[in-house]
């Protein structure tokens, strides 16, 4: 039933059809956590969208100095961030393999994939912190320019979301060790995988946003009407 027909239902009329429609076996089992996750991802998307708007707005001030575009700027050579992206991509792929092996009940591959994903995620977190260190060593402190502030802020928020995901992942381990293979294990793992893929996409988006040059910001801001 589409949203339009749902909202136009004349619920005060108890027609035969309406009653049948409800009584017939149309009850579907859904994992409610998946619905909750969809809403949560919508919330996180709004969160990052609002940060983006503030970023684009702030990028049009005269004191804003983009972190790339000129040879002396730290992110003109973003090789370390590319490595970090590869690490997170690998974490995401491992998570996918973990789901597949869980479905096929290949437990050795499952544990290997899941643990690899965990390790890669932790590696990503440490690598991001390493990028922070590189920036501060070069004198790009959080307060010295709004572009720096946004870099630390947005990457930090992204890391916090990953850390939250790691917390959820411990639940998957707990379910596995306590109960072995259950529907709950697969369901929770799938949710983690969706979350990991989503955070990888968010990271790619942030990567693009934070390493663009001033001309790109100007074009986007113009397009958005800032």
């Amino acid at each position: 039933m589409g949203i339009f027909s749902t909202l136009t239902e004349k619920s005060w009329i108890n027609s035969e059809q309406t009653s049948n429609q409800i009584k017939v076996s149309q009850i579907h089992t859904i994992w409610p956590a998946k619905t909750a996750l969809k809403f949560f991802l919508a919330v996180v998307s709004v969160f990052f969208m609002l940060f983006t708007i503030t970023f684009l707005s702030r990028s049009q001030s005269i004191d804003f100095q983009a972190l790339s575009g000129e040879p002396w700027l730290p992110l003109s050579d973003a090789s370390q961030l590319w490595w970090n992206s590869l690490i997170l991509l690998f974490a995401s792929i491992c998570m996918h393999f973990a789901v597949q092996s869980c479905k096929k009940q290949q437990w050795n591959i499952f544990i290997l994939s899941l643990s690899s994903s965990c390790l890669m995620t932790m590696a990503f977190i440490f690598s991001q912190v390493y990028v922070w260190q590189l920036l501060t060593q070069k004198g790009f402190f959080i307060y010295s320019n709004p572009a720096n502030s946004f870099f630390y802020l947005l990457t930090g928020i992204h890391l916090l979301h990953l850390a939250g995901g790691m917390f959820a992942l411990t639940r998957v381990y707990v379910i596995y060790w306590r109960h072995g293979h259950t529907l709950a294990l697969l369901a929770n793992l799938r949710l983690c995988a969706i979350y990991w893929h989503y955070l990888f996409i968010i990271w790619l988006y942030l990567f693009f946003l934070l390493t663009a040059d001033s001309t790109t910001y100007k074009t986007i801001a113009l397009f958005c009407g800032f």
């Binding site: 619920s11 005060w12 108890n14 409800i22 909750a36 709004v46 004191d63 307060y143 709004p146 928020i157």
Partner: protein, 588 residues
């Protein structure tokens, strides 16, 4: 196609069945207990805010008579009063309190779909309240930046509480948003997936529709407040310049430069305006159900009421800048936001007309819930109409910094939701406790509150027209304000204190009725919705015994022609409805 989560809908979930005092009343995962925990905390912190408003009024009514109120503490009272009332009382009580109690019962579920998360949501909320109240006890006291917390002044020397106070305020808000998100995800998922068999979306009572849409608004709007809180914390603690422009403060050049205070305003009001409807929509829903039940008539225009709730929810995201006309903006933007503000009045007016048309020729029972509901229609209409005035740029500019605005938003966002809250408490108290609230005390409470709030806020409109500025600690010698304005201010203060004391009568009534109140039975109002059909009152853990209810009709079958009783509960099948002709035949 109806979708139901089988684990919730068809099975008795005993996984969090309370076995000890602690698991039953403290670390409870039962939605009803969590709702009561939310309600007690929200009302408790609301009483603090009520006390703060009395302090403010004492200064305004009788300037410089009280040595314990100085300009700094006055601003702190204003700030904490506003923030507590809007976020920590109204949002928490309407969604955390009533949302938690009513959602599973009204849709025929055993509990929320994530009971543990629900419990966590309450304790996180409590932590937010504690952090906020802790700011009263730190050096410099709580923030005095006004509830909108506008930078740059909110975090600069010269503003009360610019040190620890504002930091604790921002941290508390961030914690509150985390709590709300946990609760909100639970509410929407429960409504979408744990409805009883037969409970289609369009058979849901309007209370649930209001809570559902308000929760979605909250989930999408609170991130804006979180973003602004985080960025302001960075500006304060890490010397960044997101919102802070270059400033010479107390003869000293600050480290900040280039930030945009207007950016904060946009973020704040992108949250702030939907927040009005996060409070209003559950109130709209609840008052609709109370009016239909106590007028013994189906709600007029049910589908239109649902569409209006959805339309108001959507439009609430495109009106935010009408709070910022005085900040200066492109005239075309002003025109756009004035237009959307007027447009949102259309679905809102539809709702008011539908409440009136539900009452029209209804079998009106002037019970306490009905009295408060009728009171709400008055106060909301008055507050709404002044909102239309302020929505126009040319009217808003001269009135924006006056008491007219204070009167407007207190009528529409303070008194009106509180009227509904009282209507709802008097209406659902018998289900929560099995007892009625005392009628005599309740009537005293209603008339005192209703007339008292008019005695407070009607004169404030007039003060606004005179140009009396808001936020001021004292008026001083101001030529354009006549001396009579001070007499009016004193009268407002006396009324406010009387209304405040009357709220204590309500608290006394609750305590008295809990112990000695008249027993109510399971369905004292002869209501149709599912929460009144539980086998036990108050409902026990799991709500429904072995079998979940099955729903056969919408929530408003009152005074159906040819039927013996003047109500048909939602879980009664057509075949089981006792018709009038059968009764007559039986008698003859």
């Amino acid at each position: 196609m109806q979708k139901t989560h089988i684990a919730i809908a068809d099975q008795i979930d005993t996984s969090h069945h309370p076995t000890s005092f602690m698991s039953k009343y403290i670390w409870s995962q039962d939605h009803k207990v969590i709702a009561i925990q939310y309600a007690i905390t929200a009302i408790g912190v609301g009483l603090v805010a009520l006390f703060l408003s009395a302090m403010m009024r004492l200064q305004l009514g009788f300037p410089d008579q009280f040595s314990f109120i100085d300009p700094s503490s006055y601003l702190q009272f204003v700030t904490m009063h506003g923030m507590i009332m809007v976020i920590y009382l109204l949002t928490a009580l309407l969604l955390g309190g009533f949302g938690n109690y009513l959602i599973p019962l009204m849709i025929g579920a055993r509990d929320m779909v994530f009971p543990y998360l629900n419990m966590l949501s309450y304790w996180t909320y409590l932590l937010a309240v504690i952090v906020l109240l802790a700011s009263f006890f730190v050096t410099g006291g709580p923030s005095g930046a006004g509830w909108t917390l506008y930078p740059p002044q909110a975090i600069l020397p010269g503003t009360p509480g610019e040190g620890n106070g504002i930091i604790l305020m921002l941290i508390s808000l961030a914690i509150f948003i985390v709590a709300f998100t946990m609760g909100g995800l639970n509410y929407v998922t429960t409504i979408l997936q744990a409805r009883a068999k037969g409970m289609t979306l369009m058979r849901m009572p309007l209370t649930i529709w209001g809570i559902f849409v308000a929760t979605i608004l909250g989930l999408l709007a609170f991130p804006a407040l979180l973003v602004s809180a985080i960025m302001m914390l960075f500006d304060k603690l890490l010397a960044t310049s997101f919102f802070m422009p270059a400033i010479l403060s107390l003869g000293e050049n600050l480290e900040h430069s280039g930030g945009s205070p207007i950016l904060f305003q946009h973020l704040f009001w992108f949250f702030g305006h939907p927040e009005v409807y996060i409070v209003a929509l559950p109130a709209f829903g609840m008052v609709s159900d109370v009016i239909a039940t106590h007028a013994r008539k189906n709600i007029f225009g049910y589908r239109m009421m649902v569409w209006a709730i959805v339309a108001i929810g959507a439009l609430s995201f495109v009106v935010w800048a009408h709070h910022m006309y005085v900040s200066g903006m492109n005239p075309y933007f002003g025109f756009f936001f004035a237009t959307t503000t007027l447009i949102i009045a259309v679905p809102t007016a539809i709702k008011v007309y539908n409440w009136l048309l539900t009452l029209w020729r209804g079998n009106i029972h002037l019970t306490l819930p009905m009295l408060f509901s009728i009171g709400f229609i008055f106060t909301f209409t008055h507050g709404g109409l002044t909102g239309l005035m302020l929505g126009n740029v040319v009217v808003d500019l001269p009135l924006s910094d006056t008491y007219f605005v204070v009167a407007h938003f207190h009528m529409v966002m303070g008194v009106s939701p509180v009227m509904v809250l009282y209507a709802a408490i008097y209406h659902w108290f018998p289900k929560v406790t099995g007892r009625f609230l005392h009628t005599g005390l309740g009537q005293f409470h209603f008339w005192g509150t209703f007339l008292g709030t008019y005695a407070i806020y009607l004169p404030m409109h007039y003060l606004g027209f005179l140009g009396v500025p808001r936020r001021y600690f004292a008026m001083g010698d101001t030529d354009f304000i006549p001396a009579s304005a001070q007499t009016l201010n004193a009268s407002i203060t006396v009324s406010a204190i009387i209304v405040g004391i009357i709220q204590l009568v309500f608290i006394a009534n609750v305590i008295f009725s809990l112990i000695k109140g008249k027993k109510s039975g399971p369905n004292p109002w002869h209501a149709t919705t599912l929460e009144w059909q539980t086998s036990q009152t108050p409902p026990v853990h799991g709500n429904w015994g072995e079998n979940l209810p099955e729903v056969y009709r919408w929530a408003y079958d009152y005074s159906v022609p040819g039927v013996k009783d003047d109500f048909i509960p939602q879980n009664i099948a057509d075949a089981d409805v006792i018709k009038m002709d059968k009764v007559t035949k039986g008698e003859s």
